[in-house]
Every structure is written in C-alpha cells, then in structure tokens.
C-alpha cells in the first residue's frame, strides 16, 4: 500500500516541491545570485517532473544491450525515451540561461556596485 502510494507520488511531490521552492525564492529574494539559484532549482524540478512521467515501476532503461530487452511480446516495457531526450535538451538550455544570467549579474555588480535588487532600482539610470 505504502509502496504503491510512493511509486505514484514521491517523484511528483519532489519535483513540485523543488518547483515551488525555486519559484518562491525567485519571487521574494533581493539578491541577484539568489534569484539565479532559484531559477536553477526550478529547472531541476522541471527536469525531475519530465523524467518522472516517463517512468513506471517495471521500466527498464531504454538502451538495447545483450541482456536488456525493451520489447516483450510486442509490447514496449522500457521507460519512455522521448521525455528523456527532451530533458537532455532542457538541461543544456538551462546551462546557457544560467551562464548568461551570471554574466549579466557580474556586469551589474561592476556598474552599480551592489547585488541588491532594491538598491539597483533606487540608483537612477
């Protein structure tokens, strides 16, 4: 019983908690670096969610090897490979966004001398 509940829900709960925590920090925090950390945590949550919907308890990994059979009696038993490939894409895009955001943050620090969003807004131009 417990096991079935966990199989159904634990990864989804984990993914959504990460998403919520990341969104909360992004919306409330004043420090630019913290905001980027929040974006990264949101990213992780999304990735976990997408992998979780591809999985079922009897899944095998989607790679043909000598002992790993993906198709049994004409039915596919492996984990869904499509969301996995989408997540590969999403991870790399996340890295790109993070690198650009950090660069802008460094430049902001060079020009304003602070990382605090409120102080940046107060400084006119």
């Amino acid at each position: 019983m417990m096991q079935v509940f966990l199989q159904n829900w634990i990864y989804l709960i984990g993914a959504i908690s990460l998403f919520g925590i990341g969104l909360y920090i992004t919306l409330t925090d004043e420090n630019i670096f913290k905001i980027i950390v929040g974006l990264n945590i949101i990213e992780s949550g999304t990735n976990l969610f997408m992998i979780a919907i591809a999985w079922h308890p009897k899944a095998v990994m989607p790679i043909y090897t000598a002992t790993n059979h993906l198709v049994v009696n004409g039915k596919v038993v492996s984990a869904d490979p499509l969301p996995q490939s989408l997540v590969l894409t999403a991870i790399v895009i996340g890295l790109g966004t993070t690198a650009l955001a950090l660069t802008i943050a460094v430049k902001i620090f060079e020009k304003y001398g602070t990382l605090d969003v409120r102080k940046i807004k107060e400084a006119k131009r």
Binding site: Q3, L6, Q7, I10, Y11, I13, G14, S17, L18, I21, G22, Y24, I25, D29, N31, F33, K34, I36, V37, G38, N40, I41, E43, S44, N47, L48, I51, A52, A54, W55, P57, A59, V60, M61, P62, I63, S78, A79, Q84, V87, L88, I91, V92, G94, L95, T98, A99, L102, T103, A105, V106, F109, E110, G113, L115
Partner: protein, 84 residues
C-alpha cells in the same frame, strides 16, 4: 525496496533546496544548489534514465556550479577592492 531509498533521496534533495533558499551565505547556497542537482541526477538513475543522469551530473552539478563559483569569486573580488 528501491523506492524507499528514492524517497530518502527526495527528502534530502528538498532539505538541500530549503537550505539553498534560506542560507544567508551565498557560497553555501550555491554549493547546496549543486548538491540538489547531484541528488536529482541520482534520482534519474532510479528512474531508468542513465543518459540524463550523466548529463545532469556533468552539466547541472559540475559545470554550472563551477561557473557560479567563478562568478561569485569575481563579485567578491570587487567587494574587497571597494573596501580597501
């Protein structure tokens, strides 16, 4: 059985994310974010996605944390230069 281990990992990951949120020091926030990525990459192994797990470990946990630390170092250098 493995689901219980996964549950434990999920709880640890959420705790680390909370540390990343509420920690006052930027460095510890960044490091725990790296560990969140690492934990998530461990969960990908449980979820039968070795490709994604390797990529997340190399890119999400490794390089992205490294870039964070480099950027932080640049900012910290500027801060100490201002104080002088």
């Amino acid at each position: 059985m493995i689901i219980y281990v996964a549950t434990l990992v999920v709880i640890v990951v959420i705790a680390l994310a909370l540390i990343a949120v509420f920690s006052k020091k930027l460095l510890s926030s960044i490091i725990s974010m790296g560990f969140v990525s690492l934990g998530v990459s461990g969960l990908f192994f449980f979820l039968q996605a070795p490709d994604v797990a390797i990529t997340e470990a190399a890119i999400g946990a490794g390089l992205s944390t490294a870039i964070f630390v480099i950027a932080l170092k640049k900012v910290k250098k500027g801060e100490s230069a201002d104080e002088e």
